[in-house]
Symmetry: C2
């Protein structure tokens, strides 16, 4: 039965995890249904946007009532591909890589840290917070064995492109880059970045250009 040939806009995709988190809260509180208005408030957006976003998933609401929390959460998880685990490999077992490895929030949400990869021979073979550290050359085998599907780049910026190339060559199709540099990946590989210095600079821009206090 045609699932509907809908194409979900990128902006909507980025909001789905926020809605899902709100739904999880409601589930915890045993709230059975939720209106777009309430969900909008929890997600920090407006109600029309919530309704339009949810409509891309299908018509899962009931007019006059709202959305059934559990059912909507399930449909959304399915859409986001969260009905299975996505093991991740963290590239670079330094300051950041170790902090990420120590973070429970990933495993909880279906993104178990399968391994750390580091070029530093003295780190290879050790375990960090229980997670084994391997050499870069081991990556292709690990991808096969452990079904690793996401690579997190936490190496110095200077080697980030080379590391990304290696990650792609090892068969990984999704990359999250923390190194403050632009990296290029071939078509068919998904890339997102987290750039802290950029965020701070954007903040300093707006603070510098503060709208003069209006009445």
């Amino acid at each position: 039965m045609g699932d509907g040939a809908r194409h979900i806009p990128e902006a909507t995709v980025s909001r789905l995890p926020v809605y899902l988190r709100s739904l999880a809260e409601l589930l915890d509180d045993n709230v059975p249904t939720v209106s777009s208005e309430r969900l909008a408030e929890m997600a920090g957006v407006n109600a029309a946007k919530v309704r339009k976003d949810l409509s891309y998933l299908g018509s899962y609401g009931t007019r006059g009532v709202g959305y059934e929390v559990e059912y909507l959460a399930f449909q959304m998880s399915r859409e986001l591909g969260l009905t299975r685990d996505w093991p991740v490999a963290i590239m670079g077992a330094g300051n950041l890589g170790q902090a990420l490895a120590n973070y429970g929030g990933f495993t909880d949400r279906g993104f178990p840290v399968a391994c750390l990869i580091d070029a530093d021979e003295s780190k290879v073979g050790t375990r960090i917070h229980g997670i084994p550290v391997y050499a870069p050359a081991d990556l292709p085998g690990l991808v096969q064995e452990l079904g690793i599907s996401i690579g997190i780049i936490a190496t110095p910026a200077t080697v980030a492109q080379a590391v990304a190339d290696h990650v792609v060559a090892s068969g990984i199709k999704s990359i999250l880059n923390f190194a403050p540099t632009v990296i290029n990946v071939p078509e068919g590989t998904f890339l997102r970045k987290v750039d802290l210095a950029l965020e701070l600079q954007v903040l300093s821009f707006y603070q510098e250009h503060r709208t003069p206090d209006r009445v």
Copy 2:
């Protein structure tokens, strides 16, 4: 002298730091001028976008030649408010807060970590990587003394809103939130978020919905 009543689009503001980083690289290599095409390649965008973005800063290019690297970098730094330091306070000296405190990339770019703030009494009074840890009650005084202008929230999500409220009440106008929850701030306070689980979920969405390999 009207500086020009230009209003820079948000999307452009987010790209300026990327251009600036590219310009810094060129400066290192003693490259005197750069074309929009080359800059576009380095920043991973297209040339028309670069030219349009830069035009919001003013007419700093020379037709037939390109942009003078040093001059453009200066103008961009000025626009981003990077001609002065913006001391930051990190809220929460846990796993993430400590990793951030240990990261040199902030100070290098004009965002020195002035202090860590933690509610845990046993941490207060210690130093982490040379950065002193204070109690939440000390924050307003520190904001005054050290000129802290940005607060980074690295506390558990459950207390993030309360911490944000405290940060705002202490006189800080810009917040970068790492806690995976929506927080609200009053008008006039700038808020940006870094949400790792969201990024991973977006990646899993696209990997799940991979466009069937086209010829």
